[in-house]
Every structure is written in C-alpha cells, then in structure tokens.
C-alpha cells in the first residue's frame, strides 16, 4: 500500500485505518515443496519481490549477488534472495527449513521453505507440521516425479488438506494447455490417494512472473486464479472443528494464596465462565469461574487464545493435564497406534524407552511393535524391525502414564507428538496418534527385547563395575561407601557388594581354603555382572589378592565396564590401623593365610585407577573414582 506523507493527525487516521485492516487480516502458513531445480527459490524470491517486500539495500545486495553467484547471466536471480546459511549456499542447495514472511493487503503469509530430497524428509515434515496449505512444485517438462508423490504423502501425513499444484516453467513448454491439463489430472489422482481434500492447479513461470502474482496473458486458456490470488483467498478455516473445549495446562499461576489459575492455549472449541469442565487424565470435575488475561477477564475464550482459567474449586492440577468440556471430553489411554517419522541417525529400536512430549505433557513411551514401514516414495508397506533416519512407520506405542488425547486428524495439538532420546536429548521422531489400543490388543510389548541397553537407558546411566582391591584395612570399604553416597545423591542407581553382605548369605557355605576363596570371588563377580546387566553401577570391595581371580572377574564384563581400583596403602599403615584387630591376631598366629602376613598380595599391574591413599582424604579419593566413570 502507499501512504502519502501527511501531518501527524493525518498519519494517525491513516494508521488507524491501516491497523483496522491489518488486524482483521488473517494469517496463512504455507509450506513449499519442490525438488532441486524445480524453481522453488525462484518462485519464493519472485513472491517477495512482487509483494514489494524487498528493501533497497536488499535489492542492492541481490544485484551484487546475482553478478557474483547468479545463474541468470547477471540478471536478477531471485533464488539468491532466499538462500540462507553460507555452507548451503556453497553447496547450491537449501538444507534446512527456512521461514519467509510476506504480506498483502489481505493476508500475512509465513512460508516454510524446505528442501525436497529424500534425505530431508524430516525437514519437510517440520515445515509441514505448522502449515495449513502446501505449494507443490512440478517442472512442466518433467511432470509428476517420485518426489512429487513423496512430498504429497508427507503433506497428507502431517494433515495438510489444501494443496496448490504449481506447474512451473510453463515458458519452456510453450505455455501449452494440454501439458498442464495432463499433469493436473495425474496429480488429482495422487492427491486423492493421500487424503488431500482440496487441490488447485496453477500453470506458471516463476522466472518470468507469469501467474505468480498477476494473471498471465500468455495463458489465456487458463481462467483460474494466479498463485498469489489463490493464496489470498483460499479458505482453510482451522477453527471449524467438531471438538468441544480443550486446553492443555502449560503453567500453574499461583501469585498468592488467593489465586490459582491454569495458564494455557485453547486448542479446540470454546469456553465461558460457568461451563462445567473435566480435568484429564484424573477425571475430576469443576466449573470455570473466570477466564483471566492481562487485558481483563474474558466472557469467552476460543481456539488459539492464550488465557489463564480459574476454576470454582481448588483442584490438584498440574502442567500437562488437559481441561476439557464435560459434554464430549477426549479419551484417555496409554496404548496407541501411531505413525512415526524417524529423524535421528541412530535407528528406532522397539522396546527402548523415549521421552514423549505431547501437548504440555512429558511421559515415557516405547514402541511395542512396528506394524509396518511405509516407503515414502511408493507408499508401499514393508515389514520392518527398526526405523532408520527419514523412514516412516506405523507402530504401536506403550506409555508409562495414561494421557488425554485426540486423533491427529481431529486435533494436531493433542494428537501430534515428538520423541526425545533419553541420553542424548535429541528430538528423534515426530508422531501422529491414530487411535487408542486396548491393552489386550497390545500385549506384544511383553515380547519385545528389554536388553541391557534398554535397562541402562531407563535409568539414564552407563552401568559399570567398580572393583576395589587392596589390603585389609587399606580403606576400600570407606572409599567405596563414599563413592556410593555421592552417586546416589546425584541420582544414579547403585549397589555395594562387600565381604559382609555376601559372606553372611550367598557365600555362607564357603570357608577360607584356596578353592573356597576362588569360588567366593567367582560368585561375587557373577552377581556383579548380573547387576551391571540390570543397569546398575556396582561397587565390589574385596581384598582379592590374586591377579588370576581379578582377571577372571574382569573377563565376565564387556570392554569398558570393569574398573579395577587399586587402593594402595602400605602394609605398615594398614597393620597399624588394624580396625578389626586382625593383623594382631595374624601376627600372633591365630589366623592363617592372612594377606600381607603369611599370604601374598599381588599388586595390580594395570588397574584403571591407582589410588595412593596416604595423606589424601577419603572424600577426595572418592571423587577421583567418580571422575573415571563414563557418563557421570
């Protein structure tokens, strides 16, 4: 729009008028899908240019770039406008999702610009997750390609219902109607298969601006809208939803004893003071007392509004709960069928627990069964044991808590979720819930492999065996105890094995003969191995004087799991300390085969940690032990 320079009062009126129009202007979120060289960047650059969103300095930069990197012989290369990261510019392709903004007098547009290669399926899904409409680009010379199907499939999977098929480079096929019509009718078949309800096909030339923001005179046979015309007028009406009121609680607002409000964004339906509501999954009921905002209380709140709701009764409600209308509340379940798009380099393994974020809720979820994988190019179903990066699977999920949900088709906010790796914290998958399974339908999860990695993962730690060896009285137990206390305080799962708790039970039958001593160590090592298998960090505190015994114990563990800690205190010091009076007895000949007196101690040759204890505090020694542990 143009605004003449006027006096301040005139400006106020002009801006008020503009604001009025601007305020009722709606927002449309769009994703552009195309393969390399279909002309996506050119088209987007052209849209920005045509809607006059470029400033002089940006235009100057564009002219400059066009001369240096352009592919248009120094003519303006619109594609350069929308290229972001330097690394990508060098490779000549866009890798990530970039967001572009432009607006016309009618609408503001946010465009997610995503690459189209198969290895960027996850990026496309990211862009599609927030889009209401997709522009699918096709090169008029090539017609529908494998990637056209893939792009359309991803759009359908993420619930996009409106597609504009942009048949580009019409200038290169002589603006021929029959070519366009064939592509259009082929595409309608594909779109219908993928559940896309509304398709508008537009023949255009991004390079020459034909049918981009104005109707082309070169294609008189086409009487539909230009691309921009379609974007400006298409009705996407997200708000038309058959669901009643739903709001996930994001944050509990408790400024003082007298006020407790539940802050969140309404995701479906509407609510007014006096309405009866139910809180899920607990099922407690109450009534809405007030709808609080900084701009005053509201008589009503509807989908999209960020509000704080005060209920008539004090209820125990926390982040992640869903407040819903009582007339048609959402279902609550902990077993689901869902589509998963895997986004991480490390494959999905059934049976592994992941964090699942859905609405404002964080729960633990595992895939109990992959029913099938979907080939994103052909949409064929294939059997699968795992899902690799960029693969889509249809899976059963088991959660550790029941949640309120909707099918993704009905509500993106209560049906869309992400999975997060519990050790790397990476976002590893995007998912869409289809429906709840009865537990009986999903008993498979008993059969899936819960292996040592899975057990370790659920504890969020790397299991290990810390084997403390050293003379009697050297300080093994004191150090091991301090280590365990600290690990425990840090939230790790531990266990301590020492002479006392083993000799009195498991090894009650063993004496002190050479054979019994070997058997004693063998049993202790086996128990430690089982505990490491269970995911624990185990401390073994045994004199274990013989190299061969310690070697036997070590051999039971995987590489890196066994940490031999040599607690090295001189014999005289130990004998002097003599906490249990044993050295005195041994020297008096009352005990035989006592290590250090009449039985040798074989010093470890290559312990993982050699602790010379003299003059060092137990706490410091313990810290040195902890420092050697991986993943702590």
């Amino acid at each position: 729009m143009t605004v003449e320079h006027t006096n301040p009062q005139g400006a106020v009126t002009a801006i008020d008028g503009y604001l009025e129009r601007h305020e009722t202007k709606s927002l449309l979120r769009v994703i552009t899908c195309g393969s390399v060289d279909d002309g996506k960047s050119t088209l987007l650059g052209r849209l920005l240019y045509d809607t006059k969103l470029l400033f002089d300095d940006q235009l100057a930069a564009l002219e400059d770039d066009s001369l240096r990197h352009g592919t248009q012989n120094g003519e303006l290369d619109f594609a350069l406008l929308v290229d972001g990261l330097a690394a990508e510019q060098e490779q000549g392709i866009t890798i990530d999702v970039a967001y572009r903004f432009f607006s016309t007098d009618r609408r503001k547009f946010i465009v997610a610009d995503c690459p189209g290669h198969e290895q960027y399926t996850r990026n496309m899904a990211t862009g599609a997750s927030t889009a209401e409409l997709a522009i699918v680009l096709v090169d008029a010379r090539k017609g529908l390609l494998t990637q056209t199907r893939r792009h359309t499939y991803i759009c359908g999977l993420l619930g996009i219902r409106h597609v504009v098929l942009a048949v580009n480079k019409m200038d290169l096929v002589g603006y021929a109607q029959n070519i366009f019509r064939r592509i259009e009718s082929d595409y309608r078949v594909v779109a219908a298969q993928m559940g896309i309800e509304q398709v508008t096909a537009v023949p255009l030339s991004a390079l020459h601006g034909e049918n981009v923001s104005r109707r082309s005179t070169k294609m008189a046979w086409y009487n539909g809208p230009s691309l921009l015309g379609q974007l400006e007028t298409v009705q996407v009406d997200r708000s038309v939803s058959k669901l009643g009121f739903r709001m996930p609680v994001q944050w509990v607002c408790r400024p003082n004893q007298n006020f407790r409000g539940y802050a969140g964004q309404v995701v479906a339906g509407s609510v007014a003071p006096g309405d009866e509501v139910v809180v899920l999954p607990s099922g407690v009921r109450s009534r809405v007392a007030r709808i609080v905002t900084a701009d005053g209380d509201l008589p009503q709140a509807a989908a999209g509004d960020a509000v704080a709701i005060q209920l008539e009764d004090e209820r125990d409600i926390s982040r992640g709960d869903v407040i819903a209308s009582t007339s048609q509340p959402p279902q609550v379940a902990d077993q689901f069928a869902a589509h998963l798009l895997w986004m991480d380099a490390a494959a999905l393994l059934p049976g592994r627990p992941y964090w699942m974020k859905i609405g404002a809720r964080l729960v633990t979820a595992q895939v109990t069964e992959i029913k099938h994988r979907v080939d994103v190019n052909t949409q064929e179903r294939r059997p699968a044991k795992r899902l690799e990066l960029n693969e889509v699977g249809y899976c059963n999920l088991g959660l550790d808590h029941a949640i309120a949900f909707e099918s993704y088709a009905d509500c993106r906010e209560l049906g869309g979720f992400i999975l997060i790796d519990r050790q790397t914290n990476a976002t590893v998958a995007a998912g869409t819930l289809s429906f709840a399974l009865r537990r009986a339908d999903n008993i498979h999860w008993q059969h899936t492999d819960v292996d040592r990695a899975a057990r370790a993962l659920i504890k969020g730690q790397t299991p290990a065996c810390l084997w403390f060896t050293g003379l009697s009285g050297s300080g093994k137990s004191a150090i091991a105890n301090a280590v365990e206390k600290r690990l425990h305080a840090m939230g790790y799962h531990t266990y301590m094995l020492d002479g006392d708790n083993v000799r009195h039970g498991l090894n009650r039958d063993l004496g002190f003969t050479a054979e019994d001593r070997v058997e004693n160590i063998r049993r202790v090592a086996e128990v430690a191995r089982l505990m490491v298998d269970a995911g624990l960090i185990v401390m073994v505190s045994f004199i274990s004087p013989f190299r061969s015994e310690r070697g036997m114990a070590r051999a039971l563990f995987d590489e890196g799991e066994f940490h031999e800690v040599f607690v090295d205190t001189p014999l005289e010091v130990c004998a002097q300390r003599d906490p249990k009076g044993l050295y005195a007895k041994a020297r008096a000949g009352q005990i035989h085969n006592f290590t250090g007196i009449d039985s040798p101690y074989e010093r470890p040759e290559q312990p993982e940690l050699h602790l010379e204890t003299q003059g060092v505090a137990v706490e410091e020694l313990a810290q040195r032990v902890i420092d050697t542990l991986p993943g702590v």
């Binding site: 605004v3 301040p8 400006a11 801006i15 927002l27 990211t126 960020a306 982040r319 859905i358 976002t427």
Partner: protein, 325 residues
C-alpha cells in the same frame, strides 16, 4: 501511544475496545493476536521447563515488546523471569534511564552485566573498532553473564525476518556447553512442541518473536500502547557524518576531527545499540504513527543502521556461532 520523554505527542490512550469489538476480534482471530498468543505460549514453556531462565533485555523496541508479552503471559503473577541487560557502557544515555525506569514500573528483576576486564582495558568502539568492541563488550560479556548466573535458558528478541541466516533459526535454539550454536545440530522443531531437555552446562536460547516482522512489532507497539525510548522518534539531535552514516554525539567520548562540528539534524533510529555504532536516519516522523507510515514506504531494511554488520565481512551466521545472539 505512550512514548518516553515525548511531552507533545498525541498520547491519549485510545479506547477502541468494546465488548462487541472484543468478541468480533475474538472471532476474527487477527494475525497480531495469533502472534501474541504464540509468543505467550513460548514464554510459558520457558518458565515451565527451565529452572533458571532469563530474558535478554536490550532496551530496544523488540525488548519492549518482549517485556510487555512477559507481563501478559504470567498475569496476574509478576514476571517470574528476571531480565538481563548487557551494558557495554556505550549505550545511548536515554536507554539506560529508560531501562531502569521500566524495570521499576514492571516489577521485573533487572540484572546488569558489564565485562569488567574489557572495561579496565578501556575497550571501546573508537579505540578498538566496532568488531573488537562488540566481541568483547557484548558477545563475551553475554557469555560471562550466562556462565556466572548459570542460566539454562535465555529469551531473546530475534526475529526470522531480520536476516537471511536467521530465517532458519529455531524457536528453541540449542547451545552446547561452550554456548555455541551449531547450524548442523539444531533439533527439528515440529508443531509447537519445543524440546527443552538439556544436559548440565548446556542451554537454550528461546525466541518468542520468531514469526514477527518489523512491521508487526510496530503495529503491536501502537495497538498495545507499549512504551519505547523516544530515540525511535525524529528529533533534532547533534550528529556527525561518518562514511555516509549519521552518528549521534551522545556524550563527550565521541572524538571529533579537527574542525568537525556536530550539526543539529532531525533524525531517528530504527534500531538501538551502542551510540557510536548505530546510525540514525533523517526523518520527519516525530510520532509513532508517522514512523509506521514512513516504514510502509521505507526502502531500506533496519539492519542498514547497524554499523557492526558492515564492519567486517563476517556474516551474521558466524557471529551467531560465536554466541553474538
């Protein structure tokens, strides 16, 4: 509108809302309202998911909008997130006064951090150049502050429309324990499900204004009567011309060439930063509507005014990797 130190503005709050209008707006769900709700949602996620978040407050228009949104997000509770200003000691004087006053008025806890070593070494834009000054007094200072207070999340006012490399920025932008941004290891961000899980020492920068444009910011400021420093409005100000840029002489530290005399020109600023690094534009727009009106016909982008972007060839992306934002 309600601008600081602008006695003559037609600053009557406008009463434009009536119950009917409220309902109508509700039904229409305008795009400003959608943006506002989205930003509030993001701020609440930060407050709920992190144990020690902070709001990076730069005193400019985007920060003013952030502060306003923060008041809305947690109403009726006071903002539970403190704000941090990295003071390079070269900000416009008006910015500092404005900052302190707004902190008092909103009841939001204000933390101010200055790079002490930099200050002791006398680092400044005139002596060390824009790039070094910005690196030491802004980038390094910010890192110091984040490390010192052990913030696990920092809310910033960056927008995706500002610059090409920002177009790909996440709403929750992950930083490793060295506070670096790696464009290759950003987490995919679907729907409005932000992954806030981090290990000790790692952090997240959250950008609630990601989807706003400069025009949205101004229209929102106007609609909501948000107070911004009057530096945004055209006034007669003492300026000198350097390499074609108008630099305001805000204090006596500005070295003048022999015979150089600051001239009074009617100028305003499109962004606010260190005064020697922030170019003014000549303008007659001395009211907010006039500024918006000028914007609508403007032919240069707001970054034009930031000297730092032109000082070295380094791209925005590089600065971001180093932790500039």
């Amino acid at each position: 509108m309600n601008l600081a130190a602008t006695p003559d503005d037609s600053a009557q709050p406008r009463h434009r809302s009536s119950p009917e209008a409220d309902l109508k707006a509700l039904a229409a769900s305008s795009h400003l309202k959608r943006l506002e709700a989205e930003s509030i949602y993001i701020m609440r996620e930060v407050a709920a998911e992190f144990s020690n978040p902070v709001l990076l407050y730069s005193v400019g228009k985007d920060s003013s909008v952030l502060l306003h949104l923060m008041q809305k997000a947690f109403h009726p509770a006071p903002p539970p997130i403190p704000m941090l200003h990295v003071d390079t000691t070269w900000k416009f004087r008006e910015m500092i006064a404005f900052r302190d006053r707004r902190a008092k008025e909103t009841g939001c806890r204000l933390l101010v951090h200055t790079n002490r070593e930099g200050l002791e070494q006398g680092v400044g834009p005139f002596t060390h150049g824009a790039a070094v000054h910005t690196d030491i007094m802004k980038t390094q200072a910010l890192k110091q502050a984040l490390a010192q207070y052990k913030f696990d999340a920092a809310i910033g006012g960056a927008r995706r429309d500002e610059e090409k490399s920002r177009a790909k920025e996440r709403v929750f932008s992950f930083r490793n324990a060295q506070q670096r941004w790696d464009p290759k290891s950003q987490r995919p961000e679907l729907w409005s499900l932000y992954n806030a899980r981090i290990h000790k020492g790692e952090s997240v920068r959250a950008f609630p204004l990601s989807n706003w444009t400069e025009l949205d910011i101004w229209l929102y400021i106007y609609r909501e009567n948000i107070e911004v420093p009057s530096l945004y409005l055209a006034r007669e100000r003492p300026v000198v011309e350097r390499d074609g840029r108008l630099i305001m002489v805000d204090d006596e530290r500005m070295p003048l060439a022999p015979g150089e005399v600051p001239q009074m020109r009617k100028v305003r600023f499109r962004t606010l930063g260190c005064y020697p690094l922030t170019a003014a534009i000549e303008s007659q727009a001395d009211t907010l509507p006039a500024v918006i009106q000028e914007m609508l016909v403007a032919r240069t982008s707001e970054r034009q005014g930031r000297v730092i972007d032109h000082d070295v060839g380094a791209s925005m992306e590089k600065k971001k990797q180093e932790g500039y934002f």
